[in-house]
Amino acid sequence: MGWKGRDVISIRDFSKEDIEFVLKVAERLEEGLNEKGSLDYARGKILATLFFEPSTRTRLSFESAMHRLGGSVIGFSSASSTSVKKGESLADTIKTVEQYSDVIVIRHPMEGAARLAAEVAEVPVINAGDGSNQHPTQTLLDLYTIKRAFGSIDGLTIGLLGDLKYGRTVHSLAEALAFYDVELYLISPELLRMPKHIVEELREKGLEVHETTDLEEVIPELDLLYVTRIQRERFPDEEEYLKVKGSYQVNLSILKNAKESLRVMHPLPRVDEIHPEVDKSKHALYFRQVFSGVPVRMALLGLTLGVL
């Protein structure tokens, strides 16, 4: 499949070859950035960022990526500042905005909104999160971070920790990891276990998957620990939440039993899942993960624009 004009809506639309290709292009761009500071592949091109709900980090990451590619950015960061407030349909908003831009990034509170936008728009559409459904660029930047840190994704033992039930990020990461030869430890409170159908799907695809509630017991096995936030509002009572919350703090003492080479990732923002003292340790990979968003999004923008 050609990349020019292609939409990036769901990680489910990607083959392993697609993923590997994006990661390779991102790597090339990162090297280019290191050499030159910024690139000019997208000079004269305009990105429209349509954030129907606020997500400052994601928006800044896309904007930074477009600027580093030499292009420019227009957009809005909340629905209340647009004619959507007046009841305009999503399709009309998209058809209007595409007159001003060459590529559209959309974040929307409704599931499927990005797919609909892509059907309406002639220009490529990139999904920056649709409700609790997809956030494919997050998954790609996670994979990129892993690949850059370890050289290869194959052969790793990976722990996914925290809210595995509702966490959109860990669901699509797990689905993408199914393309690789990895062993997974799913670590969560009973209440927040990974949905059964995902676990079954992973096993069907040949992954060795272990489910546990005990981080301390499995941490020595891991090459990578991917931490997610446990949201208080998911719990029926506060006490239950507090119990669980305490047991999953990643700090220097729990990391004592880990491999020297263990790396810790987190999609951020964190609350207290990772103690700040971990930041300066060699285990911390989460700020590097944030940085990875730029080359990965540059790759996707450049490829779909057809300038790379």
Partner: protein, 151 residues
């Protein structure tokens, strides 16, 4: 015997091998819950070799669109559709669940864009036995009663 009953209408459609008790859903799907033209004959809980018990619906003077046939397949996957002309069955075929279900089923996810914007709901059939569909927009899967309840 059901074969004899098929002869009863002069022109129209006979839907056979509907699971017992599902006839009402079939006529709902076809918009036949109020009298509109021809005779409607319903035989419910008829002995059947294939199903044990089955329903049969006969609609005089009306033929079905492909979309209607596909819709019936969702609740009666073994149904057969007979086209009757001049008291004879001139065509007979089995319903088939298509690969894509377009426009006949609402997505049960209240936060799905298809329930808020002007779009035709679409589903991909992920599995036929048991029936499992995936919404083209929100990507959620639906099964069983969620399908029947949203037809």
């Amino acid at each position: 015997m059901p074969e004899l009953k098929v002869e009863v209408i002069p022109e129209g459609t006979v839907i056979d091998h509907i699971p017992a008790g599902k006839w009402l859903k079939v006529i709902e799907i076809l918009g036949l819950t109020r009298p509109n033209g021809g005779t409607l004959l319903i035989a419910s809980n008829v002995p059947s070799k294939k199903l044990g018990r089955k329903d049969i619906v006969k609609i005089e003077g009306r033929y079905l669109s492909e979309e209607e046939v596909n819709k019936i397949a969702l609740i009666a996957p073994l149904a057969t559709v007979n086209i009757v002309k001049d008291y004879k069955i001139v065509e007979k075929f089995k319903v088939e669940i298509p690969d894509k279900i377009v426009g006949i089923l609402r997505c049960p996810n209240p936060n799905c864009v298809s329930n808020h914007e002007h779009v035709t709901p679409k589903f991909r059939v992920e599995s036929r036995e048991p029936l499992k569909l995936r919404c083209h927009y929100c990507e959620r899967t639906i099964e069983g009663d969620d399908i029947l309840g949203n037809l």
